[in-house]
């Protein structure tokens, strides 16, 4: 079956055979990945209101729809490129997938808190956190590559963010800079969930990449837990479906560090077992987002309490 599906949709067979183990309705999933992903924008309430933005974009011929998150709008029709309106240039919205906003929702950052974003560029989640905090408190955003840090600084400027600093530092060194009430780790991953945006990923990576990513993710999550204050929240997310990069990483964190996995209101339940390993029962509180079920890019989110 995997060979036929791989041939039909142009994937490496090993990848489809893996999807058959952990993606529900693989046919529907592969079909969905052939179509352009849904478009979403997030209202930047640091500069405008949802009502004001909707009125302005509708006047320009946009058709917008509601989503599970009040500040996020589905773009159903646009006469202009979404990234070329005056409102975009003035920072009234950010083009961001709904699933990515779910990670920020799960973080629950509030006014006055100290927040760390361990893998921040290009800054979509960071700027959404700043918006949630109404530009109070502080956010330390880490991005080791200067070009990406510069791009992120542009986004912060465009969106009017004043409570954030960008440090050119690898997330693995976050322990050097203090402790935090909230820690977001949107971990570098094998990106299985964004194939609809980047079809080259159907054939560009190997099973070894998943193992490499999982090993790095585990190290980064260990640091994230270390720098979270007692009682603090860590949100771990990836845009991969691979259980090795998701539930397995969370399961080991629960067992090794005693963190609790807290419920999240949207998405599908996390897996209970994979590859012969039964995960801690709390791991099912993590959430999976599938393109064909949730109309988002593929995503995984877990909210951990230290």
């Amino acid at each position: 079956m995997s060979a036929a599906l791989a041939s039909k949709y142009g994937y490496d067979e090993w990848l489809v055979s893996r999807f058959l183990q952990y993606v529900p309705d693989v046919d529907g999933f592969l079909e969905k990945m052939e179509r352009p992903p849904a478009k979403y924008i997030r209202v930047n309430t640091l500069k405008t209101s949802r009502e004001e933005l909707v009125a302005r974009l509708v006047a320009k011929g946009f058709e917008l729809g509601d989503t599970a998150i009040h500040d996020v709008l589905a773009v159903k029709k646009a006469l202009l490129p979404t990234g070329a309106t005056n409102e975009y240039l003035l920072g009234h919205y950010y083009i961001q997938d709904l699933s990515s906003c779910m990670a920020v929702e799960a973080l629950g950052a509030d006014k006055g808190q100290a927040v760390l974003d361990m893998a921040a560029a290009p800054g979509g989640k960071t700027t959404y956190i700043a918006q949630k905090m109404k530009n109070t408190g502080s956010i330390v955003a880490l991005e080791p590559v200067e070009k990406r840090a510069r791009s992120m600084a542009f986004n912060m400027e465009r969106l009017g963010v004043s409570n954030t600093c960008i440090c050119q530092l690898n997330g693995l060194r976050a322990a050097d800079i203090g402790t935090f009430d909230r820690v977001l780790l949107d971990a570098p991953c094998s990106c299985e969930g964004v194939i609809a945006k980047d079809p080259g990923r159907k054939t560009s990576h190997s099973p070894e990449d998943v193992d490499y990513c999982a090993s790095r993710q585990e190290k980064m999550l260990k640091v994230a837990i270390q720098v979270a204050r007692p009682g603090g929240v860590i949100v771990y997310s990836t845009c991969s479906f691979a259980p090795e990069e998701n539930e397995a990483v969370i399961d080991r964190a629960v067992k090794e560090f005693g963190v609790r996995v807290e419920p999240i209101s949207h998405g599908s339940e996390g897996m209970r077992s994979f590859g012969g390993t039964d995960f801690d029962p709390g791991v099912r509180n993590s959430r999976r987002f599938y393109p064909h079920l949730h109309d988002t890019t593929g995503f995984f989110v877990a909210r951990l309490r230290k």
Binding site: K47, G83, A84, N86, Y88, L89, L90, G91, G112, A114, N135, T136, G137, S138, I139, V140, E143, E146, K147, A149, S151, M152, A153, F154, M156, E157, R158, G160, V161, S162, N163, T164, C165, I166, C167, Q168, I177, G178
Partner: protein
């Protein structure tokens, strides 16, 4: 590049600039940092970020609102805050068509100006706003007073605009594609 608290002289210069740009009342209690450079840059930061930024000396901190040279020159982000904070005589309002052109970096024709203070001098820095009063760029007047409104001539040179975010991104993509 070092982030530090402003000196007393710099604080005076910042307050004077806020007054000149009509934003003193709205922003006087904000927390400012100076980023050393040529010229020095002024950033607004949340109070909680101030000490953290000084300790960490990050790549970027807070919102860069202007440059402190011989005079204070606002950035587009600073202009946006100033225009939103209060009405300044240094704001020049342009029409919808001109808004699109300014966002492509084009200069302003006299015909496009909807509103400008009559006491503006030649060679004066101004904030270009759209009809909703939102800053879309920074300009420098080529004429004084009513002459700014003359038809068929460029009367304000656009120095910076909010559209550069998009142009810089496109340029960066083009460079990447060339590699």
């Amino acid at each position: 590049m070092t982030y530090r608290k402003p000196t007393r002289e710099e604080t005076t210069a910042i307050n004077r600039a806020l007054g000149r740009w009509g934003a003193y009342e709205a922003l006087k209690d904000s927390t400012f940092l100076v980023k050393d450079g040529k010229p020095n840059k002024v950033c607004i930061v949340s109070p909680a970020l101030e000490e953290q930024a000084i300790a960490l000396q990050p790549y970027a901190a807070g919102l860069e609102i202007g440059e402190l040279g011989k005079q204070f020159t606002p950035t587009v982000a600073g202009a946006y805050l100033f225009a939103r904070s209060g009405k300044s005589r240094l704001c020049v309002q342009v029409g919808d068509d001109a808004e699109k052109l300014v966002l492509y970096g084009r200069d302003v024709m006299g015909d496009s100006i909807i509103e400008a203070a009559q006491d503006l001098d030649e060679n004066e820095l101004v904030i270009l706003t759209n009809q909703k009063g939102e800053a879309i760029g920074i300009g420098r007047t080529r004429f004084a007073g009513k002459s700014l409104l003359q038809k068929g001539r460029i009367t304000i040179t656009t120095l910076a605009d909010a559209g550069r975010y998009l142009r810089d991104e496109d340029e960066s993509r083009t460079k990447m594609a060339r590699r």
